[in-house]
């Protein structure tokens, strides 16, 4: 036996000398494989989801092609389906939600991040972040029993001020795009506030100090310097909220009125993509109908992907937490 300069050490030999069983017992490979499988499962599930949506909407896609996106008719009897009324309703309610939500949300975020004393700020932030946890169906519940009666009371004042615009014409039955828009705005405000507030807090304090040292008031330093610095992140939060609003189902279904027509007035009932799927899917008569509904789902899926993608590009650039 050749003389060895190293003492005989029991235990794992180095490098490739380790046998397969030894490596397996060590557990590293097993851990790697198992966790890798879990990560890959996510990819598989998502791919499967896209596949299923695509395949099961085939009937409808082949029949209507791209015109599906611009046709207004929704006639189950004649089996003529078009997505336009639902795209319209989805977009209108979401935009209305943003119009209400952005000023309220960004205003509150500015207050919480810049202007409020810290004790009040953290308490209120806590309450607002809890609002984000309230389930959609509960917003719908309150939409039906609280918001709609309130809007009924406000109908005359609104009409007297804004009744001359095409937005507020026609009869008001409570369930309407207006109600859906307002409920949606309450649902997205916590997200706008939460993300915007973090982005504003992340603005380096020397920016504020530079403005204050020039004699700016607190508001001027916030509005002229801090908010523009945080602009990208705030816009990202708005996009994320838009994506949420587009896909929101229950609260909208309960208050929108479920009428697949395109009408300019916000007082009129409408329909959103998520709402019709929720209402009709379980009892859809016939394969073509189901296929059309699934194609609607595909459209919604595509919409939210695009907007979420844009949002992440904006938020990732500014948030300190994001990392790859």
């Amino acid at each position: 036996m050749a003389a060895s300069t190293t003492p005989a050490i029991k235990g794992r030999p180095l490098g490739r000398a380790q046998s397969f069983q030894q490596r397996l017992r060590a557990g590293d490979d097993l851990a790697y494989i198992v966790t890798l499988a879990a990560a890959a499962a996510v990819l598989a599930v998502t791919a499967l989801l896209v596949y299923e949506l695509y395949v099961h909407s085939a009937l409808s896609r082949h029949k209507f092609g791209w015109s599906f996106l611009v046709t207004q008719t929704w006639d189950p009897v004649a089996e003529q389906f078009g997505a336009l009324p639902f795209i319209y309703g989805t977009v209108v309610t979401s935009v209305l939600a943003l119009l209400i939500g952005i000023p309220l949300g960004v205003g509150a975020a500015i207050f919480l991040a810049e202007l409020a004393p810290p004790g009040i700020s953290s308490g209120l932030t806590f309450l607002i972040e809890l609002l984000a946890a309230v389930p959609s169906v509960i917003f719908g519940l309150l939409g039906v029993f609280v918001l709609i009666p309130i809007l009924h009371k406000l109908e005359d004042p609104i009409r007297s001020v804004l009744g001359w615009t095409p937005l507020f014409q026609g009869p008001f039955y409570g369930v309407s795009m207006l109600s859906a828009g307002v409920v949606l705005s309450l649902m997205i405000i916590p997200f706008i506030i939460s993300i915007s507030r973090e982005v504003i807090l992340a603005v380096p304090s020397d920016q504020r100090e530079a403005a204050l040292a020039l004699g700016a008031t607190r508001w001027e330093s916030t509005w002229d310097v801090v908010v523009p610095y945080a602009y990208k992140g705030i816009t990202g939060s708005i996009f994320l909220s838009l994506a949420r609003a587009l896909g929101e189902t229950m609260a909208v279904t309960m208050v929108i009125g479920n009428d697949p027509k395109i009408v300019t007035s916000l007082f009129a009932p409408g329909y959103s993509i998520a709402a019709i799927i929720a209402n009709e899917f379980a009892e859809a008569p016939g394969e073509m109908y189901t296929s059309a509904l699934i194609e609607l789902g595909l459209v919604l899926f595509a919409l939210t992907i695009v907007i979420n993608g844009a949002a992440r590009l904006l938020v990732a650039g500014t948030s300190a937490k994001e990392g790859t």
């Binding site: 519940l141 189902t249 309960m254 379980a282």
Partner: protein
């Protein structure tokens, strides 16, 4: 040179300052107040309709008053159990992969797809579960509903697990490995226990979110006015009952919807507050 008297210009700026402070404060109070109002309303209208019957009886036949939502409560519990059993392991293990073995292109793709899946509207996930399970089986089932909910849990479980695992300092891992632990042993015995608070709260928050989801259940687990033993039958669930009863024509149903809403909201908020308290206390632990 300015003397004691402020110029008009300065007064105007001071006024703008004060006005904007009030306006933004008003926005904040509206937002915070909404939550309190919702809670208060459900407490008043829902709380008074709560009774022992609510938790123990089945729904009364349509048109009759009385009855309860015992089957819906049990149904929700079963759905969440199934969702957790599928979603949490996959999510957690996926998070472990990203935190411990990530850094390559595959991990980047997984993160991207996870975010994608997270952004998919819940109704579309319902469609997915429908085509995958309901269609081949030709009937609605608890299993389909649980599966749909598990898909919703996965992205959040991955992201939160990864975040909390990453937050464990490198020094801890290296310390374990320097003592001879293999990488997987270090992960299992040191890193995961160090992150366990965060991971537990992550699961809690995930559950709370999914517990309130209605859309994916509407055409997977559907609903049921009776008990639904096993996993192959459609089942009632709390959120779907709220939805059905709220839109129904009976005043008694509306009352029950409020009661159910109150129960659901209380549970969801309780879990949320609990999770946040645990997290905030952890942040104060000196390292």
């Amino acid at each position: 040179m300015a003397g004691r008297a402020m110029s008009f210009h300065v007064i105007r700026r001071k006024t703008v300052n004060a006005v904007m402070l009030s306006l933004t404060g008003l926005c904040t109070f509206i937002a915070a107040g909404t939550l309190l109002y919702i809670l208060g309303y459900l407490f008043v209208h829902g709380g008074k309709n709560l009774s022992w019957d609510f938790f123990t009886k089945l729904p009364a036949p349509v048109g009759e008053t009385g009855g309860g939502m015992a089957n819906a409560i049990l149904g929700s519990a079963k759905l969440l159990l199934l969702a957790t059993a599928i979603g949490v392991p996959i999510g957690f293990l996926g998070g472990v992969y990203l935190a411990e073995f990530g850094g390559n292109t595959f991990a980047y793709v997984v993160r991207y797809v996870t975010d994608l899946l997270n952004g998919v509207p819940s109704i579309v996930i319902g469609i997915f579960a429908y085509t995958l399970i309901v269609l081949p089986q030709k009937h609605f089932s608890t299993m389909a509903g649980g599966f749909a909910l598990s898909i919703m849990m996965i992205p959040i479980a991955i992201r939160s697990s990864e975040e909390f695992l990453r937050a464990v300092p490198l020094a801890l891992r290296e310390g374990a490995m320097a003592l001879g632990a293999s990488k997987s042993k270090a992960i299992w015995t040191v890193v995961i226990p160090a992150a366990k608070n965060g991971i537990m709260t992550g699961i809690m928050l995930n559950l709370a979110r999914v517990a309130g989801e209605t859309a994916p259940l509407i055409f997977t687990s559907l609903g049921n006015r009776f008990w639904s033993p096993g996993w192959e039958q459609p089942t009632a669930s709390l959120p779907v009952m709220i939805y059905t009863y709220a839109l129904g024509p009976y005043e008694d149903w509306h009352q029950q919807a409020w009661a159910a809403g109150f129960v659901l909201l209380t549970l969801v908020l309780a879990v949320n507050i609990c999770a946040r308290l645990i997290l905030s206390r952890q942040a104060h632990v000196p390292r």
